[in-house]
Amino acid sequence: MDAILADRIQFAFTIAFHYLFPIGTMGLAPFVAAYTWKAARDGDEATARAAAFWTKIFAINFAVGVVTGIPMEFQFGTNWAGFSRASGAVVGQPLAMEGVFAFFLESIFLGALLYGARGRPSRFKAWSAVLVCVGAWLSGYFIVATDAWMQHPVGFAHGPHGTIELINIFAVLGSRWAVWQYFHTIVAAIVAGAFIVAGIGAYYVLAGRETALGGRFVTAGTIVAFVFSAAAAFPTGDLNADNVTRYQPAKLAAMEGLFKTTTGAPLAILGMPDTENQTLIDPIYVPGFLSYLAYGNFSAGVKGLDAFAREYWPPVGLTYYAYHVMVGLGTIFGGLSGIALIALLLKRLHRTRAILWALMLIVPFPYIANEAGWMVAEVGRQPWIVYGVMLTADAASPTVNGGETLFTTIGFAGMYCLLGILFLTLMLRTIGDGLARA
């Protein structure tokens, strides 16, 4: 098997599986911190149970997130030695920072949070919960900053023998790509966390168990989901689109299925890209709207894929569909949480079974939206590993062949299958055991 293809399949599979769990930890960490903090302050028994329950859910997510995260950092060296050797002076920095600044904080204080007496949490536990949240979010920042540099390389210079030298670390960490991609990422994770809280709460209310505490989860989850669904679109989604428009026009064209450079470009709501004939099949268009979104002007020209040499096109179909799945689901999240919020304001939410069912069943979809968003970012960046600087084809390890990588990929697949089953079993069991035993 072609070594590059095998490496790409392995990285895509391991990162996509791994990322399911950071979504949960980054999204649930603020809820864990809030419930633990409130329970420590007020000492009321129900909040203490809520804190213990969400800590347990968080811990299961964290455990699987940690073990699936270990291979990620090592894969840069094992499978992508060419990339690591050339650009380690830059991408090594945020990854090293993640290790020493975020992982220690997260893992040491999670130990403090999980072990120790039950009942009303101590002040120390409350602080530990806050620091775990800080660690989880910091970890996200360093990873997004690493990716942002690969998307929009800044603060570097070309050194001898094809190496890339670091010039300014603050330019790397603080680039507008890093900042806006980070906010979009964390906001999207919080949307997922909020729907998990609302969805599990809805299950308890519908099942007629723990209706009081379940109702509190529904309320908290709904409010947070609404605010952050809105923030995922505007301003964070909008500003990411602005970055793509400015710095990666080929990705924009692939996301929108725009094959030909057009003035007054329409926005395709639906349609199937046909790369062979370079058209969108059965499109539903909003005229001029893509030009407006990209440049604030309904008649502005937008570059289509025809403006770029074919070998620099990203895979059009995957980028297009992933983008439309993300945006479509994001719209649904805003709509559902908006309806739930109105019901809440009318004091009907906890009695309206249809909305509770919808909140319960929506839980997997924020995961899909989060993953699809990353697919747009990473697949749309191809064929570059560092945009405009280094091709993915030049990045793999020269000493590792496709067969080896295929073998280890199958090993990872088996391992992750086991992990996935364990994760679901434990999550369902924890939810099924309910709040009394937490």
Binding site: V67, E73, R85, G92, V100, F101, I108, L110
Partner: protein
């Protein structure tokens, strides 16, 4: 100068990893001997429960620091040891889930399964890390571009296997010292007895490894070549004295100093090479070949020193908070 400091930082972080994760790996290795029955084994797991993950981060953070400080060495070592390293990753993962998931269900079969998984993955991990360290000291066949491909036949040489055996004995002793200090009751007594027995094996393998290293690398007399082994030998004698007097915390401290001195010795032997060539004396990938520009080195040094210092501070805060002995319940 900066390169040497970077070498020191990576060696320090990996050394802390061996001292800290070494005790939880060691507890896993000796728990079948010191903990009998479900409740005692649960106590052994709980003794390391709050700490193991933070300890393991020293490996992840050390690898991160290596990536930032010496990208070429990171790329060469990780791709060269490809298959063994992937197996290490699988073992780390298996061990992590064993630790985290054992207590999630209340069933003896579930516990037995994860206890066995924990023991096997920890033991194999020590062996693989020992083999890796042995091969680093012995050197690897680098090509002109600075890459190599580690085949199993090359990596599983007698020297590397000897180092792995030494690793099992030394970390088993370290884990027993930790268990004697942290757990209350029967398991602690058994751990103290085991530690006294293991000491002889550690001593024998220590002398054997010393002699084998001279064979593999030759003798280069210097102050360090005498002073560092003297420290490790003194620590080993201190460990004996402490364990005979039943002073578990002192024995654990002595074992930590012993491991630190061994790693310092390994680092001293490697310096200034990160990956020496095989056979010995043929140069290799040095810190000067592998380091990036000054700016990157300065950033990476600042980050890893500040971050390690911070981690040591809050690690010890949490450690003190959780210092109560673990009871079998």
């Amino acid at each position: 100068m900066l390169e040497s400091l970077g070498f020191g930082v990576v060696a320090f972080m990996l050394g802390v990893y061996v001292m800290l994760d070494g005790y939880d790996l060691g507890v896993a290795l000796v728990s079948p001997l010191i903990a009998r029955g479900d409740r005692e084994r649960a106590a052994a797991m709980r003794s390391i429960g709050p700490f193991w993950n933070g300890n393991e981060v020293w490996l992840i953070a050390g690898a991160g620091a290596l990536f930032a400080l010496f990208p070429a060495a990171y790329a060469t070592a990780f791709s060269g040891f490809y298959l063994p390293l992937v197996v290490v990753l699988w073992l780390l993962m298996f061990r992590g889930i064993a630790l985290e998931l054992r207590a999630q269900l209340d069933s003896p079969l579930w516990h037995d399964f994860w206890d066995a998984a924990f023991f096997l993955s920890s033991g194999l991990l020590i062996v693989l890390l020992g083999v890796a360290l042995g091969n680093l000291i012995r050197g690897v066949p680098l090509d002109a571009a600075g890459y190599f491909q580690g085949t199993f036949a090359f990596l599983l040489n007698p020297y590397a296997l000897l180092i792995a055996a030494f690793g099992l004995a030394a970390l088993g002793q370290h884990g027993a010292a930790f268990a004697a200090m942290r757990i209350d009751g029967e398991p602690a007594l058994r751990a103290a007895r085991l530690m006294r027995g293991l000491w002889w094996a550690v001593l024998a393998l220590y002398l054997l490894c010393g002699a084998a290293t001279v064979v593999v690398r030759g003798v280069h007399l210097s102050v360090g070549a005498v002073a560092v082994p003297a420290v490790s030998l003194a620590a080993l004698i201190w460990l004996r004295a402490a364990s005979l007097r039943g002073r578990a915390p002192a024995a654990f401290a002595a074992s930590s100093v012993f491991l630190a001195a061994l790693l310092a010795e390994a680092a001293r032997a490697l310096y200034p090479y990160l990956i020496p060539a095989f056979p010995a004396g043929r140069g290799g990938l040095s810190i000067y070949d592998a380091a990036p520009s000054r700016t990157a080195l300065e950033v990476a040094l600042t980050v890893s020193i500040a971050g390690s210092a911070a981690a040591l501070v809050y690690g010890s805060v949490v450690w003190r908070r959780m210092a109560a002995k673990i009871r079998v319940e």
